[in-house]
C-alpha cells in the first residue's frame, strides 16, 4: 500500500483527458465551485467526425454554458429516416420519425466535433475554479486517501477523485485495475463530409446495407456528414478513392436523394469494436466517455452517453460536496456505478443487437428485424416511446433519485 499523497498538496478533483467528455466533465465539476484540475494536452482536433447531440445533451451543454457558444454552428435534425437497403428477401419498411410527433423543435443538433471542442475549450478557459495542466498524464497511482497523477513533463498532483476521460486506451482504467472486455466487430467506419446539390430538409437518412449502416446527417447549409460502415477491405477501397469517385460512390449509396455529392476535406477510418469495462469506478477513479464504453457509431449514442456520464457525475459530486463529503469516497463511486451502469449496459446491448441484425445473413433474423422496425414504424405510441427513449431514457432520473 503505497501512499504518495504526502509530497504534493491534495486537490479535490482531477480530470484526465481533454476530449469532449473530459472537457465537459471538467467544466461541469468546476461549476460546483470546487477546484478542478484538468490534465490534458491541448492538441488540434484532427478528424472530421461530427456528433448528433440529442435531447438531454443539449440541455446539459446549455447548463454548463457551452451551447450558446456553438449553437449557431450546428444543424437541426428534425426528421430521421431508416431505409432497408439490404436487398434481402424480407425487407423492413421505411421508418420515418419526425420530431413534431413528440412535440420537440428537433431531435437533436449535428455539429462537427472540432467546433464543439472549440466551444468547450473556450468555456473551460473561462472557469475560475478550473486549472489546466497542458500535458498528458504519464502515471496514475491510486492511494488510500488520494490518487497521484504524474504528467509527462513531471508535474504532479494528488486528487481525491480522478475522472478518467482518457479514451479507449485509458491509463486511468488500467490504474484502477479494471479489466475490459473487447470485441472487434470486423467492420470499419469511414467518415467524411460532403456538400450536395439537393437540400437535406433537416433530415438524417440511415441506409441499412448488408455490410453495415450508412448514415447521412445534416450539417449547416447543403452539407452532410457521412458515416459509412462496411467490411474493412471495402472501407479501405472506398477510402483510397479520389474525391470525385468517392463522391459518386456516396451518391449511389444515397440513391441520389441528396443529388450530386462532392467530398470536403479528409476522410478517416475507424475499426469498430465494442468495449465494456467490468466496472465503471474503483480506487477513487471513475471512468467516463470511451474509457467507459465503446460502441459502434449507430444512432449517435456514443458521445451522448459520454455527456450523460459527465452530467450524472457532476450531479453526484455536487450532492456529495454540499454535505462536506469526500468526492472520491466509495459512496460517490457506488452512486456513479448505479446511475451509469444500467444506461451503458442497455445501450451497448441495443446498439450491438441492431448492428448484428443488420449484418447477419441468418435468415430468421431478417423477418424479426423487419417486423420490429415495421411495428415501431406503424404504431404511434411505440414510435413515440422509441424516439423519447432514444433521446433521454426516462428511467434514468428515477435511478438517480433512488440513491
Amino acid at each position: 500500500m503505497s501512499d504518495h499523497s504526502g509530497r504534493h498538496p491534495v486537490q479535490p478533483i482531477a480530470v484526465v483527458g481533454g476530449g469532449p467528455v473530459g472537457l465537459a466533465a471538467a467544466i461541469a465539476l468546476a461549476s460546483t465551485g470546487e477546484n478542478v484540475t484538468l490534465v490534458a494536452r491541448k492538441v488540434p482536433y484532427v478528424d472530421n467526425r461530427t456528433t448528433a447531440l440529442l435531447g438531454k445533451s443539449i440541455d446539459f451543454l446549455d447548463d454548463i454554458g457551452v451551447w450558446r457558444l456553438c449553437a449557431d454552428k450546428s444543424a437541426a435534425l428534425k426528421v430521421m429516416r431508416l431505409i432497408d437497403d439490404t436487398g434481402r428477401l424480407v425487407r423492413a419498411p421505411e421508418v420515418r420519425f419526425s420530431c413534431e410527433e413528440i412535440g420537440r423543435a428537433a431531435f437533436g443538433y449535428n455539429i462537427e466535433n472540432r467546433l464543439l471542442i472549440a466551444a468547450l475549450e473556450q468555456r473551460a478557459s473561462e472557469c475560475a475554479s478550473l486549472t489546466r495542466i497542458d500535458d498528458d498524464a504519464a502515471g496514475i497511482i491510486p492511494g488510500d486517501a488520494a490518487v497521484n497523477v504524474i504528467a509527462k513533463g513531471g508535474q504532479q498532483l494528488n486528487a481525491r477523485l480522478v475522472v478518467g476521460c482518457d479514451g479507449r486506451h485509458s491509463l486511468c482504467r488500467e490504474a484502477a485495475d479494471i479489466a475490459v472486455e473487447r470485441r472487434d466487430l470486423g467492420q470499419t467506419a469511414l467518415t467524411f463530409n460532403v456538400s450536395h446539390t439537393r437540400p437535406h430538409r433537416d433530415t438524417s437518412t440511415e441506409f441499412h446495407t448488408p455490410s453495415g449502416p450508412c448514415v447521412f446527417v445534416p450539417l449547416p447549409d447543403q452539407r452532410c456528414s457521412v458515416v459509412w460502415v462496411s467490411r474493412p477491405d471495402e472501407a479501405a477501397r472506398l477510402s483510397a478513392l479520389g474525391d470525385a469517385e468517392l463522391g459518386r460512390a456516396a451518391e449511389r449509396q444515397a440513391h441520389s436523394i441528396l443529388g450530386a455529392m462532392s467530398v470536403e476535406g479528409a476522410r478517416f477510418t475507424f475499426p469498430l469494436s465494442i468495449e465494456r469495462p467490468a466496472r465503471l469506478a474503483a480506487k477513487r477513479i471513475v471512468l467516463a466517455g470511451e474509457a467507459a464504453h465503446v460502441i459502434p457509431p449507430i444512432g449517435a449514442q456514443g458521445l451522448n452517453m459520454g455527456l450523460r456520464d459527465a452530467s450524472d457525475l457532476a450531479e453526484l459530486v455536487a450532492e456529495c460536496l454540499a454535505l462536506g463529503g469526500d468526492p472520491g469516497s466509495d459512496d460517490v463511486l457506488a452512486g456513479y456505478q448505479r446511475s451509469r451502469g444500467a444506461d451503458i449496459a442497455s445501450r451497448t446491448f441495443a446498439i450491438d443487437l441492431a448492428n448484428r441484425s443488420l449484418i447477419s445473413d441468418f435468415l430468421p433474423v431478417q423477418p424479426a428485424r423487419a417486423i420490429g422496425l415495421g411495428l415501431i414504424g406503424s404504431i404511434g405510441p411505440l414510435r413515440r416511446l422509441a424516439m423519447r427513449e432514444g433521446l433521454s431514457p426516462s428511467w434514468r432520473n428515477n435511478l438517480l433519485r433512488m440513491m
Partner: protein, 245 residues
Amino acid sequence: MSSSATTVDPAEVARFSRLSAEWWDPAGKMAPLHKINPLRLTYIRDAACRKFDRSARSLGCLSGLRILDIGCGAGLLCEPLTRLGAQVVGVDPSESNIAAAKVHAAKSELLIDYRCTTIEEMNRHERFDIVLAMEVVEHVTDVGAFLDRCAAMTKPSGFMTVSTINRTLKSFALAIVGAEYVLRWLPRGTHQWSKFVTPDELARHLERNRFGITDQAGVVYSPFADRWSVASDVDVNYMLIAEAV
C-alpha cells in the same frame, strides 16, 4: 524507515487504523450510521444556514462556525462539517475512538480538534456556535445534567442539535427488537429502552436552561426501499434544534 526516537507502538497504530477503517466502511459494522449520516448532516447544515444566514448550496457554508460534537466516534460528522468550513471540536470518552478519528482525519488532511474527554470534564467557559448531541442522550446517566452543560456551552446566538430515540412502544419494537434482535444492525444491548428520552422530557430540561425547541423532525426507515428519510413521525428516531429564548 525514520522511526529512531518515537514512542509510538506500531501494533497500536495498526489497531487504530483497523478500527478507523471499520467505522468508515459504509458497508461495515457502522452501516446504519452511514445510512442516516446524510440526513443528520443535511439537518444540521440547513439549520445552521437558516440561523447564520448562509447559503446551503455554497461550498464552505459553515465557515467560521465553532462546532462541538459530543460523542464523535471516529468523526463521521466532524469530517464533513470541517470540509464545509467549520472549526470542529470532537469529544469522545473512548480513547480508541479518538485515536481512530485522528488516524482518519490525518488521511483526509483535515484539522480537527479531537479530545478524549467528556463534556463534564471540559473547560466550562468554552463556547460554541453549535453543540451537537447526536445519539448520545440515550447513553448518559443523567440527561438533565448533561443538557445543562450542553446549554451552558452554546453561545446565546447559537443552537443545539439533539438526536435520539423516543421512549414509545413502537421504539421498543423497532429500535430494540427490530434493530438489535431481528435485523442485527446493532450489537444486542446497545440500547436500554428505559434510557430512551421523549421529546417532552428534553423540552423540560431545555426549558430550565431557557432553551426552546424550534424544530423537530422524525427519522424514519422504510424497509422496502431500504432507505431513511425525514418525516413528521417522531415515535422512534428524532432530531431537534434548541435555541436560547
